[in-house]
Symmetry: C3
Subunit: 179 residues, 3 copies
């Protein structure tokens, strides 16, 4: 059973009193990941001559993540066209899971994440698709489920016409990590 | 009367000698906001499961702001199509005002802004509209009018095909704030 | 002759042991720039009421750079349409060179760059062009050739429908610089 802060699970966003109110013994981010049944994949290979992340001070920049699974896109094309809203919602969650794989591989454990700062989501969109926020919510919700209040982040969501490999979406992340 | 640094108002960008040359007694950012006759609105509600801002150290990230007025877009569609250049210019200023509302709600007063670091403007554009910088200038100019030299920022302006709620534009901001 | 870290030039990415393994006496970034025969241009004029860069602490934000040469675009239009992949690859390198001109003008010498943190590339793309990473590689590769391991960066690459001045691409940069 997933217990979020001991509060009403139907309203997980009620837990806003204190950034660390959700982190009690036995419910670290790594524990929550396990409870959610998520196994982090291998770190996805960059598509070019860059690296998956760079750290400067306590800021940790993650490159634009695609919803790759075992190195492949589950589907391609624009949301509202070839890709449905529901499929895009799954893909945004996959991209976030890939970002977490990058973070853990770099700093050893998700428990060393201090805060999720910002995510920027680029959604390949048909000209009349305007529900980019709904797509990205699955990534945002996952960060909250895993990190609690420390998972809350600023966000920008935009539509784009086309992405690398014809991916339906791409999400970049900035985290603050502990020393 | 709006007096910018006591210099030629026809060339407000001449004031580049010192970051604080524009801030003299009685002309703090909050004072200038008043002189401009701007009343900051309520902080706009996020469109999804994220928060309007996150602070890390002295950096203050504001989520992508739409030109919402009382929770609603004044108009929708792409600039160069349904939306005119002049309308988009008004909208970019509205989005910046919304960002200032977020900043003040978080740190109490705009006088605690040390510097505007960066804005990124996404302009929903018809395929042949290439004046994204002109649209964003109204947001940039407002930051300069309010913060003086501390309002000068780095910027990126890009066209996109479509945005959340079919908004004509979205702007995200990074500020540096005082302790 | 360009000698990259004294290692196999056919695999310049093998040099990953230590961030400074590539910086030995006589091969500073400024030296490498010279060996590559690159003369940095004048800092490009901003297209609006913003500035080419802002520094906060050790972070150095460069505004979105277009592939301007002497203030003009060599070509305009979308990659995959009016602009070929090869032309876009040249343009991405030009945009990176313009960014280096901004950095040097601000901090005196490229030798004071500690790390390239992040680049975001917006590629004006025809609806079926999905090789944005290949376009950006020329910018990423240049940063590696000049800064060695310190040139490695996080990256996001996205397609957009149209950019300021009908530019084929725009790239923004975050660097970490020394005190």
């Amino acid at each position: 059973m997933l217990l979020l802060c001991g509060i009403d699970a139907s309203n997980p966003y009620a837990c806003i009193l204190h950034p660390f109110s959700c982190i009690f013994e036995g419910m670290t981010p790594e524990n929550r990941l396990r409870e959610l049944g998520i196994t982090l994949p291998e770190v996805p290979q960059p598509l070019g001559s860059y690296v998956p992340f760079v750290r400067t001070g306590n800021l940790f920049y993650v490159s634009g993540m695609l919803p790759l699974k075992e190195g492949k896109l589950v589907r391609t094309g624009r949301v509202g066209d070839a890709v449905t809203l529901q499929e895009a919602i799954e893909d945004a969650r996959s991209a976030a899971i890939n970002a977490l794989a990058v973070v853990r591989s770099a700093i050893g454990t998700l428990d060393n994440v201090e805060q999720c700062i910002k995510i920027t989501g680029y959604i390949a969109s048909s000209p009349d698709f305007t529900d980019q926020p709904m797509v990205l919510n699955s990534a945002s919700d996952l960060l909250f489920e895993i990190f609690g209040e420390s998972g809350r982040h600023a966000r920008a969501a935009v539509g784009v016409p086309v992405l690398p490999m014809n991916s339906p979406l791409e999400i970049e992340f900035i985290f603050e990590v502990r020393q």
